[in-house]
């Protein structure tokens, strides 16, 4: 099977014109699939669902497979309404990022993508999802190569594996908005400060070591996960797609480097270092702490 690339959903909150410019550029990048939609915070409204759908049409016309991603942490009825509208969009495949979305998609009798926050940690749960219509899945971002190998050795046939392969790691979600907290603003009156932080807001230790990234209600790593140097092990596991998570600058370079590596060109594992919005990490893939860099030359 030929390995390909996908562009994950935008995790940050950018001005509308920046979002549109980003995806206009993405239309010409060598990514087979693009995930669209707001997955982090319901208050973000530069793009509403009709805007995402319009963008989806344009990217589909440019030859991309488009998938609509559902919100990860659901708290209130209006958020469920959006998930229902996604499930009933009638055109594009949906990525379910919590089990409520799974229920709604199953009710529609639709195939879907099982996102990494569904917590598929073993072959049995993957079997559950395959039985109800998942055609593709992503392991939790903390899963190691060895655990993924053990899982896939027992996995049901006919479901494709996509792996989060590049970007700041999505680590946690809260009812509380940490960006608003930083500005001493209540979440309900956050003044959309996320707009000022296109790659999130850096959190460091009291020694000044970068540690995490605050992105509204989401907490990410400060380090940038990269499996650019792991193409061989990813191929050996029959991983179908590598997911690259959007960043504010140099995303085209990131896609280019991964595409070159997939095409078999020799790409230095640290080729992306200067385009990363943080220091490289890959500990999770090697069964270690996520913040670590297992291969010094790669990270």
């Amino acid at each position: 099977m030929h390995m390909n690339l996908s562009l994950g959903p935008l995790q940050y909150y950018w001005p509308r014109e920046d979002i549109l410019a980003f995806y206009e550029a993405a239309a010409s990048w060598p990514v087979a699939r693009v995930y669209l939609g707001e997955t982090v915070c319901f208050r973000r409204h530069q793009m509403r669902l009709p805007d995402w759908l319009e963008l989806a049409d344009r990217l589909a016309a440019a030859g991309k497979e488009v998938v609509l991603s559902s919100q990860i942490l659901i708290e209130a009825e209006p958020e469920l309404k959006v998930v229902r509208r996604l499930a009933g969009n009638g055109r594009f495949l949906v990525e379910a990022n919590e089990w409520g979305a799974v229920r709604l998609l199953v009710k529609e009798g639709l195939p879907f993508v099982a996102g990494y926050t569904l917590n598929v940690y073993n072959h049995e749960t993957l079997g559950v999802l395959a039985d109800v219509g998942a055609k593709r899945w992503l392991p939790p971002v903390e899963m190691s190569r060895d655990t993924l190998a053990a899982l896939l050795a027992r996995a049901p046939a006919g479901i494709e594996t996509e792996v989060f392969a590049y970007g700041k790691l999505p680590l946690a979600y809260s009812a509380r908005c940490f960006t608003a907290r930083h500005y001493n603003l209540p979440k309900d009156d956050c003044q959309f400060r996320c707009l000022d932080h296109p790659d999130g807001l850096l959190l460091s230790t009291r020694e000044g070591e970068p540690f995490l990234t605050l992105n509204g209600i989401q907490t990410q790593s400060a380090g940038v996960y990269s499996l650019l140097g792991e193409l061989d092990s990813l191929r050996a596991l029959d991983v179908a797609t590598l997911r690259l998570s959007p960043q504010a600058r140099h995303m085209g370079k990131v896609v280019e480097a991964f595409q070159a590596a997939i095409a078999g060109e020799r790409v230095a594992a640290d080729a992306l270092a200067r385009y990363m919005p943080g220091k490289p990490v890959d500990g999770y893939w090697h069964g270690r702490a996520g913040q670590e860099c297992a291969k010094e030359h790669a990270c």
């Binding site: 942490l73 659901i74 708290e75 209130a76 009825e77 469920l80 919590e98 089990w99 409520g100 979305a101 799974v102 229920r103 709604l104 926050t117 917590n119 940690y121 073993n122 072959h123 049995e124 749960t125 079997g127 559950v128 999802l129 939790p140 971002v141 903390e142 655990t147 053990a150 899982l151 050795a153 790691l169 680590l171 946690a172 979600y173 809260s174 009812a175 509380r176 908005c177 907290r181 930083h182 209540p186 979440k187 309900d188 807001l201 850096l202 959190l203 460091s204 009291r206 020694e207 070591e209 540690f211 995490l212 907490t219 500990g283 999770y284 069964g287 270690r288 702490a289 996520g290 913040q291």
Partner: protein
């Protein structure tokens, strides 16, 4: 039946303390990583579990078994054997997070009662109803991220009983989808059953104060007059844009005593007390206060007022000696 008091049992002594002081049910885990408090020296082997069950059942109380980590593919039988043991021992319910494990339980032990663990991370009735339709779950424990009106909306739209956290350690993140601990240490609640594991903690006196580290990462530094707490990752002081503060959450505990009338009115089935890692004395004290409070609210919901003595006693036991209503109270967010 409404507002059942569900108390933590980290060992047999705590189980007895909880039962003796008025818990309607206790929850426990086996002595391995099949549960989210896989701490050294904690939890039950089968013989102890059987003794605990006898003690509780003789007094008309129930025992719930937490099997709420996510099974690993290599060790899948460890989790299914734990389900088998729970059925054999006569557990009143198992608290499960993983869909594959629920499917196993339903198939092999159809009479075993299933509760959806908070680690299952279901925050909407749509998610809860998925587990209801597929595995017949009877109860769901809600993550500590919803406000009370949001909780009420869940209750109204599912026939599954809803259990809420009432007191104890406060997870700021939606449970079951927090990987901060594994990012820092390699071990997370989902995969290893621990958060901010003790073996990764380092304390050091320095000229600038007492430092706490987790796998080398500086979580906090305490001045002479500051009380140092357990270095849970999300409750450290960090720097953001030149400011040093509790960027995620203060070291504080959840305490919802004041919300009991609302919880009763909306039909909450059970209140969970966190803390299987705490001492039997702690369990006894907390259980006694909550028993009195729940009895009082059931007797007279309109006239209910938390007694100052209850708060004083609970605050003494709380992390950071302070408490919060957490996400149940909108401004916290």
């Amino acid at each position: 039946m409404p507002l059942d008091l569900v108390c933590p049992a980290g060992n047999l002594m705590s189980l007895k303390a909880a039962v003796d002081h008025g818990a309607d049910a206790v929850y426990m885990g086996f002595r391995d990583n099949t549960n989210a408090r896989a701490f050294p020296g904690l939890n039950f082997d089968e013989a102890q579990a059987a003794e605990g069950l006898r003690y509780a059942h003789d007094r008309g109380r129930r025992v719930l078994l937490a099997l709420n980590t996510y099974p690993q593919p290599d060790n899948w039988p460890r989790w299914t054997q734990a389900i088998d043991s729970a059925a054999r021992l006569g557990m009143d319910a198992v608290i499960v997070a993983d869909a594959g494990l629920m499917r196993y339980a339903v198939k092999n032990h159809p009479r075993l009662r299933l509760h959806l663990s908070v680690q299952g991370s279901a925050t909407s009735y749509e998610a809860i109803n998925f587990y209801r339709e597929h595995y017949g779950i009877q109860r769901a424990v809600l993550p500590r991220v919803l406000s009370l009106p949001q909780v009420e909306n869940v209750v109204k739209n599912t026939e599954v009983e809803i259990e809420l956290f009432g007191f104890g350690g406060l997870c700021v993140m939606v449970e079951g989808r927090c990987l901060l601990s594994s990012y820092c240490t390699g071990e997370s609640p989902n995969s290893a059953g621990v958060c901010s594991p003790a073996k990764a903690v380092q304390w050091k006196e320095t000229p600038t104060g007492l430092e706490s580290r987790l796998n080398g990462v500086l979580l906090d530094r305490y001045g002479k007059d500051e009380k140092a707490g357990y270095p849970t990752l999300c409750k450290g002081r960090f720097e953001v844009a030149g400011e040093t503060y509790y960027a995620i959450e203060e070291p504080t505990s959840l305490n919802t005593l004041d919300l009991l009338p609302e919880m009763l009115a909306m039909g909450i089935a059970a209140i969970k007390i966190e803390g299987r890692q705490r001492s039997p004395a702690y369990v006894a004290q907390v259980t006694r206060v909550w028993r009195a409070a729940i009895d009082a609210v059931k007797q007279n919901a309109d006239g209910f007022k938390a007694m100052p003595g209850w708060h004083a006693e609970l605050n003494k036991l709380s992390e950071g000696q302070s408490h919060t209503l957490g996400a149940y109270h909108r401004p916290w967010k």
